[in-house]
């Protein structure tokens, strides 16, 4: 009846109990709060079943922030362990637990924080920037979010029931195979990636069709905001790279469940093929993470330099070049796996080449600032921090693109420092910039500037303290994923890194404080006209927050920076326009249900509860059928209602 699930699955060491209990208590607290406020119906009607891209975007952000908390705790635990576990001392974590922590840290941060916040922002902004009322497939958008959430739940639930994988976020075979990891940990990992991967793929399709088919009149491709271009190119990477991951993890899954010998070390299998396929996805994946951040900066720098973006066309071509090149560099993740010099040389050279279009973008942003009228608000702080940190990280990457050099630092802390450098300096700072910039659009008030700047300095100084020592440690021979080491000289550096983590946590603390203080001060920082920064693109032409239908009248554009042009054009807009009925999709519960049953499906397979597998599969099919057989999936907003809403927002 309960398959492999026994009471053993609930037994953990005291630290894991602490984690699990605090998580359960946290969840309980939220449930009690909602009940106390009587908000269940509201939550269901307005958020869980919503197909509105703006609501879905906010749900992505909230979920990602919660996962960020977990990922940061993982990081702090690792730093604490490495600060003390030298020589005689074994630290406070067991090896098994440490392995689960670095695995969960990687999966959480990459899949459920970085991708979550980027997809959240894209959901919020994309339709507004192209003058559309929603994405191409609103139901699929909702479903994608619930698949994303379901995937994250595997990581969360593993804290309490069973264990999480200890085989690293990349799950290299044969360690992640059934022979060396027979427990449920790797299975949890597989399902968290597979299910959230389906959600990501669906979003990729959704956003591509949205961008190609739903741009407002006059917005040709070369008139789109660069953020839209960045999203477009990113989604192309998603659609063409994620199936590779799906295939690799599916075959690992059959290896584990059905005893196939595709990636095993015996019976003729080839574990290296997994690593090859994983990184054929993995490299495009890191560009999936960073390109939206590049897009965000391309929006922010012109606005806060009071100058249009320098080199729009070269920016577009740079994005396209990066996307194409990202498919032909993947071997640099395993230079040391045994390929010959020809193969290594080819991929090494391609890796160096990909730095070129990236450099073009950096120069274009700098040239945008040059002779502009700079306004150093918090978003620009994040941008300047990005320029500084991302460039260093990029340089360390180019260093490793030389196979001979990589042989020295592969899988050392130098590598760890590199990718944290580019991900934090690039993706995270990009997100923070975008979050600060677009916050007023969706809440109606700006964030507190002072606290934002304090947070920024904590993040920059904290990052330098936490990761610069790791570059040094890498050169000194420290490998990654160590839960204990014997070289006493390394400890001071690990201690400095530990301090850096605390400074970063202080930065996060300032950000949390910033939200609370800003809510308190919202009347002073109110965004009254929808355009608090004197923006250039169409999202600023709507009220803050925008009405659920985005635009009462579909905008018509003629040039880039369409809103800027509208604001400064001599042509007076027609004062009196006739309102029309607006066609909108209805909310639906099916996305939530399908996501929920997908979680039960995976859980059932993991614990061999096959009745649960069968039932949840049937339930998912039933939900799909119910969704397909809906009589009226949409409705019309009467013109009078539109008029009323518009009049209220623009008195």
């Amino acid at each position: 009846m309960l398959g492999r699930l026994t009471l053993e699955a609930f037994k953990h060491d005291w630290i894991e109990y602490l984690a699990g209990i605090s998580m359960v208590l946290g969840g309980l607290f939220i449930v009690i709060l909602i009940t106390y406020l009587g908000r269940w119906k509201w939550l269901w009607k307005e958020w869980i079943t919503s197909v509105d891209h703006k609501k879905i975007g906010i749900m992505y952000l909230i979920y990602s922030f919660l996962m960020l908390a977990k990922g940061l705790v993982d990081a702090a635990m690792m730093r604490a362990q490495q600060a003390v576990a030298v020589g005689e001392s074994m630290g406070y974590l067991t090896s098994e637990h440490y392995q689960q922590i670095f695995t969960a840290h990687g999966v959480t941060m990459i899949f459920f924080v970085a991708m979550g916040v980027m997809f959240g922002l894209i959901n919020l902004i994309l339709p507004l920037q192209i003058g559309a009322r929603d994405v191409a497939f609103p139901f699929l958008n909702n479903l994608s979010f619930w698949f994303f959430a379901s995937g994250g739940m595997f990581v969360i639930v593993s804290l309490v029931i069973g264990v999480y994988s200890g085989a690293g976020w990349s799950g290299y075979t044969p360690l992640s195979g059934i022979k060396y990891n027979p427990g449920v940990g790797v299975d949890y990992w597989l399902w968290s990636i597979q299910i959230s991967g389906v959600g990501t793929l669906l979003s990729g399709i959704n956003f591509i069709v949205t961008i190609l088919k739903m741009r407002c009149p006059g917005m040709t491709l070369m008139k789109m905001p660069i953020f839209v271009w960045a999203t477009f190119v990113t989604m192309i990477l998603v659609v063409f790279a994620f199936p590779i991951l799906n295939a690799a993890t599916a075959m690992l899954f059959t290896d584990r469940l059905f005893d196939t010998h595709i990636f095993t070390a015996e019976y003729g299998g080839n574990p290296m093929m997994y690593i090859n396929l994983f990184w054929a996805w993995g490299h495009p994946e890191v560009y999936i993470l960073i390109l939206p951040a590049f897009g965000i900066f391309s929006e922010i720098v012109p606005v806060f330099s009071h100058k249009k973006l320098f080199g729009y066309t070269s920016m577009v071509w740079a994005l396209v070049a990066i996307a194409f090149l990202s498919f032909i560099v993947w071997l640099h993740h395993f230079f040391t796996m045994g390929a010959g010099p020809n193969v290594n040389a080819f991929f090494g050279i391609m890796t160096m080449v990909i730095a070129v279009p990236t450099g073009v973008k950096i120069f274009n942003w700098i040239f945008t600032m040059f002779r502009g009228h700079l306004e150093l608000k918090t978003p620009m702080y994040w941008f300047l921090g990005f320029i500084f940190l991302f460039t260093i990280g990029g340089l360390s990457g180019v260093l490793m693109s030389i196979p001979a050099a990589d042989f020295q630092v592969h899988n050392s802390l130098f590598l760890i420092a590199h990718f944290h450098n580019v991900i934090i300096g690039g993706v995270v700072f990009g997100f923070f910039a975008g979050y600060t910039y677009w916050f007023p659009k969706f809440t109606g008030f700006k964030l507190n500037e002072t606290l934002g700047k304090y947070a920024f300095w904590c993040w920059v100084i904290g990052f330098l303290l936490a990761f610069m020592p790791l570059y040094l440690l890498g050169f000194m021979g420290a490998s990654r994923r160590l839960d204990h080491y014997d070289v006493a000289e390394w400890q001071p550096l690990f201690l400095v890194a530990g301090v850096g983590t605390l400074v970063i946590l202080a930065g996060v603390g300032f950000q949390v404080l910033q939200v609370l203080v800003s809510i308190k001060q919202r009347k002073e920082n109110r965004d009254t006209n929808g355009d608090p920064w004197n923006g250039r693109t169409l999202e600023w032409s709507t009220a803050s927050p925008p009405p659920f239908y985005n635009f009462a009248f579909v905008p018509e554009v003629h040039e880039r920076d369409a809103f800027w042009v509208m604001k400064h054009s001599k042509i007076k807009e027609k004062a009196i326009r006739k309102y029309e009925d607006i066609h909108m999709p209805k909310n639906t519960a099916m996305g939530f249900y399908i996501g929920f049953f997908s979680f039960l499906f995976g859980f059932g397979v993991i614990w061999a509860m096959y009745w649960l597998v069968a039932l949840s599969f049937i339930a998912m099919i039933a939900c799909v059928i119910l969704h397909l057989y809906q009589k009226h999936p949409d409705y019309h907003v009467p013109a009078d209602e539109v008029k009323m809403i518009e009049r209220k927002q623009n008195p």
Binding site: G204, P243, A247, H261, I262, H583
Partner: protein, 203 residues
């Protein structure tokens, strides 16, 4: 669902932004992604197909005449789906039902033949866990089989509303077009399986 009836319609960068165009294009992109998925499986098969671990090879195991018949069955199944899609666009309800039902029958026959072949191999001791070659063979072919199963499930799900409605609705036509694309995609994948796995395995 009509496009927004503004005079600006002609100035939309893509005049085909109606529900039909969006759905078909979105489904097309999904099929392209599925192609990549199979590509990764094929690459794995190509890497592993000689690793028989001392066991029997493709030449010894595959029955080409049987597989030829399988191929023709699937080809006709997807041909019927193609006819069904056309009939749907022509609003010929009776033919639509007939053609897609034929797809169901022929697709089921194909699936049965595949299951039968798997059973034959397993009974002779050549299960998927005997070598990397057999593992990757079963994985590629079974993945196609799973696609066929979904394609079969999908037929009655779409045909029942068609049966019940007076004439083919826009929604039905749109969905049947996706179904037809799916079956024809499955057939294209099978061409590669037949050629690269079976024919080259034996040749």
């Amino acid at each position: 669902m009509k496009a927004s009836p503004t005079t600006a319609h002609e100035t939309y960068p893509d005049t085909h932004h109606d529900a039909y165009s969006k759905t078909i294009f979105g489904f097309w992109i999904y099929l392209m992604g599925d192609l990549i998925f199979f590509g990764a499986l094929f690459a794995t098969y190509t890497v592993l197909n000689e690793s028989t671990f001392g066991g029997p090879t493709a030449r010894e195991l595959f029955n080409l005449p049987y597989t030829l018949i399988q191929s023709l069955v699937l080809l006709f199944a997807s041909f019927m789906a193609g006819l069904g899609g056309t009939a749907a666009h022509r609003k010929e309800k009776g033919r639509t039902l007939l053609f897609f039902s034929s797809t169901f029958v022929l697709g089921s026959l194909f699936l049965g033949m595949e299951i039968n072949e798997f059973a034959r191999l397993i009974a002779a001791g050549n299960r998927w866990d005997q070598s990397a070659f057999l593992s990757s063979y079963f994985t590629v072919v079974a993945t196609l089989g799973v696609h066929v199963i979904f394609g079969l499930l999908w037929v009655p799900i779409l045909l029942i509303p068609v049966l019940l409605e007076k004439s083919l609705s826009h929604v039905s036509i749109r969905r049947l077009t996706c179904l037809k694309m799916f079956w024809q995609f499955v057939n294209i994948i099978w061409i590669f399986i037949f050629s690269l796995v079976y024919l080259l395995g034996v040749g």
